[in-house]
């Protein structure tokens, strides 16, 4: 759809008050301005950009680069806007995992459910770590649709590198993830948990998990922005999805190998492998989820790239229908 021969842009903003020869109106004194020129040729037609994937990914990369400053501005805007009108400020970033963890720890102590497996460390730390990762997964998964919905007006009216919205979205996911991870420090100290050295591996795995979730989110974004059913369905399915992910209970290697139902559940749940792997490495230094985790880790980047392509291609189709509602 868009072919851009790489361009050079000159920007000048000096206004010099000299009379222009070619003024629209005789006798009207108009200043001379430096015009921003480029030799870029832009072509719009009905062809699909994906026909030339190499060119398309080059354009995506170029737009990520040219959208970096806008992404940063919008990230700062959202962050400042988010907490300027609150009393508790940043505390709100910490609250969801604390609240969720508190609920499940309470229910466990009431004997509402069994945790399964042997647990050497504090239940609170176990659930909190899982919750932080789960929240991050869900945030990343919902991010593409969220940035589109939040910036509808801008997308429908202005041409700017759309990838900058993904930068904002990913930035916010990472920021929240970092803030929440800080919670682990007091929790580890309080409950006397010593993190395993393998925690260093947990970080890249968590990052891959974010890319993977964002990739999935970008793949469903087009349908989600056309049909609100998707968002409603995710809203309803989320608690169930969380419960099928071993966050408040344990799935041991033994269960994974010998219980076909458990292993089916794990294989069908894209949230589970990377999340559990990262959590287990942080807390125990080993995990029964290495194999499924490895598979998804290899898939994460291709899924993310595929998501980028779908995200880019679908935006004009979505913009066309934005005025409809």
């Amino acid at each position: 759809m868009i072919q851009i021969s790489l361009f050079q842009t000159h920007l000048f903003f000096n206004v010099t008050e000299t009379t222009s020869e070619s003024s629209t109106l005789e006798n009207e004194v108009l200043p001379t301005l430096e015009i921003q020129t480029s030799d870029q040729l832009t072509v719009y037609n009905s062809q699909s950009e994906i026909k030339n994937p190499v060119e398309m990914f080059k354009n995506i990369a170029a737009d990520f680069w040219s959208g970096r400053e806008l992404g940063w501005r919008l990230f700062l805007r959202n962050l400042r806007g988010l907490y300027r009108q609150t009393f508790l400020g940043l505390f709100w970033a910490f609250l969801p995992p604390i609240a969720n963890t508190a609920v499940w720890v309470f229910l466990r102590h009431q004997g509402v459910f069994e945790i399964g497996g042997d647990m050497e460390i504090s239940l609170t730390v176990y659930i909190l770590t899982g919750m932080i990762l789960w929240q991050t997964f869900i945030d990343a998964f919902q991010m593409p649709l969220k940035v589109i919905n939040q910036n509808r007006g801008m997308i429908a009216k202005l041409r700017f590198p759309r990838e900058s919205l993904l930068l904002v979205g990913l930035g916010e996911v990472l920021f929240d993830f970092a803030i929440r991870s800080l919670l682990l420090i007091p929790a580890f100290l309080w409950y006397g948990v010593t993190p395993n050295l393998a925690v260093l591996w947990a970080l890249p795995i968590a990052l891959l998990m974010i890319l993977f979730a964002a990739g999935l989110g970008m793949l469903i974004m087009p349908i989600g922005s056309l049909y609100q059913d998707v968002n409603r369905f995710i809203g309803i399915a989320m608690p169930f999805w969380m419960l099928t992910t071993p966050i408040i209970y344990v799935i041991t290697g033994d269960m994974l190998e010998n219980d076909p139902n458990t292993s089916l559940l794990v294989w069908l749940n894209p949230a589970a492998p990377l999340l559990v792997w990262a959590r287990d490495l942080t807390l125990f230094g080993e995990s029964p989820f290495v194999l499924p985790g490895m598979i998804l880790a290899f898939l994460a980047i291709p899924i993310f790239l595929l998501g980028l392509a779908v995200f880019r291609i679908s935006i004009p189709v979505i913009v066309e229908r934005m005025n409809a509602y």
Partner: protein
């Protein structure tokens, strides 16, 4: 596509572009999903001409036009004619379904002022956000920040949250940021009808400055009265088709004719039911009683109105309003005012009663005009018929001048200057 030497220096070349939309929400979503699927598997291609799915219509059909560097072109037309769709395609927001748009050079758009403003952040912070949305870097904004504040005349309030600004202040700030967009092709959509007169004049002057510096501008607006301040050419859209491409004044007249015609259709539709009496015919003639539709300022002109009735109307009244689609009624006259009393009686005038209204030396200036004519009985409540947008005519000369070197407006008023 042939790439001849003429086209290579064009800033914009729109060639045979069509765009299809769907008004049915459910179908639009379904088609969206289908089109998306086709795009993703790389099978998006030109739509066959004239092939529509149920519920679809052409928002733009077979539109072609070119713009050269330093031209300021107005896209005009009634609501839903396709102007904004065209602008969106040129801006790359949506894709054409057929045809091709080629842009040579840097493009910028002034579509909505102050996009990205966050109301709880300060004016200063929002300048940086808005500028970033428009593609400027922080360093570039740093350099022109003072200029932006000067242009907006908002020195005292830059540190206050934007939500404490009046809407006019917000728009001024938005325009001032956007004024630093100096691309080779600038798209402007309906943003000039804002702000107070002084600021508006400043905006127009800014646009003239851009044009004089070689920037091409495409303007979409309904306020055609203002166009003469900056545009030189117009492209008129009606129902997705380009019906005029050329001189601005002629384009405005074509547009006003379209507006007049749609008003006529609207009132005709309202009055479909059988009526006892009607204004059967309206003809504009010159002083020699020959039908004519193009006049010069200060020409004399008559309209001949044929009234028909099934029963006798005693003391009928006729009201004639001379209208300009862009400003409304210029003048309204009635038979009652000059105490012209007459009956419409089918027994006396079986072919209808003819009434002639003469205007001596009509001082109208360049533009398209029409009449709205109503037929009443002696009482205000005795309404028989109204014809809107009839008797269309145009004043085609002499030229007007909006830069203060001649006269412009609707009327040529008798006047005299005197030096003490």
């Amino acid at each position: 596509m042939s790439e001849n030497s003429d086209n290579s220096k064009l800033i914009l070349n729109v060639e045979d572009v069509s765009k299809v939309f769907c008004r049915n929400l459910k179908l639009a979503m379904r088609y969206g999903l289908y089109d998306l699927g086709k795009e993703i598997v790389g099978r998006g291609e030109d739509r066959a001409e004239g092939q529509l799915r149920p519920g679809e219509f052409y928002s733009i059909r077979n539109a072609s036009f070119k713009i050269e560097p330093g031209e300021c072109v107005a896209l005009i037309g009634p609501n839903g004619a396709g102007k904004s769709t065209m602008l969106k395609m040129i801006n790359g927001l949506i894709k054409p379904d057929r045809g091709e748009i080629r842009i040579n050079g840097k493009i910028g758009a002034l579509i909505e002022l102050g996009t990205g403003f966050n109301p709880i952040l300060s004016g200063r912070e929002n300048v940086y956000i808005n500028a970033a949305v428009l593609g400027m870097s922080k360093r570039e904004v740093d350099e022109v920040y003072d200029e932006i504040v000067d242009f907006a005349e908002l020195h005292d309030v830059m540190e206050a949250p934007v939500k404490t600004y009046s809407s006019g202040m917000r728009i001024r700030l938005g325009f001032s940021v956007a004024a630093n967009l100096r691309p080779q092709l600038l798209l402007i959509d309906e943003v000039l009808a804002v702000g107070d007169v002084g600021f508006r004049m400043k905006c127009f002057k800014h646009l003239r400055t851009l044009v004089s510096n070689g920037v091409s501008i495409i303007l979409v607006t309904h306020a055609i009265g203002m166009l003469q301040r900056v545009a030189t050419r117009s492209v008129v859209f009606n129902r997705g088709r380009i019906v005029h491409d050329g001189e601005l004044d002629a384009g405005c007249a074509v547009y006003e004719e379209i507006l007049g015609a749609s008003e006529r259709i609207r009132t005709e539709r309202l009055q479909q039911k059988t009526r006892e009496a009607e204004i059967a015919e309206v003809t504009v003639v010159n002083k020699n009683d020959e039908p004519q539709t193009e006049f010069q300022t200060n020409d004399s002109l008559k309209i001949r109105i044929l009234l028909k009735s099934k029963k006798k109307i005693e003391n009928a009244r006729v009201i004639v309003a001379l209208n300009s689609p862009s400003i409304g009624t210029v003048s309204s006259v009635s038979t009652a005012y000059q105490e012209v009393r007459f009956d419409v009686d089918p027994a006396v005038h079986p072919d209808g009663r003819m009434l002639t209204l003469s205007f001596q030396e009509l001082p109208l200036l360049l533009g398209a005009y029409h009449f709205n004519i109503s037929l009443f009985g002696p009482e205000t409540t005795e309404f028989f018929h109204r014809r809107s947008g009839c008797g269309n005519f145009r004043i085609i000369g002499p030229p007007i001048d909006v830069y203060g070197m001649g006269i412009h407006g609707i009327l040529k008023v008798d006047h005299e200057w005197k030096l003490d």
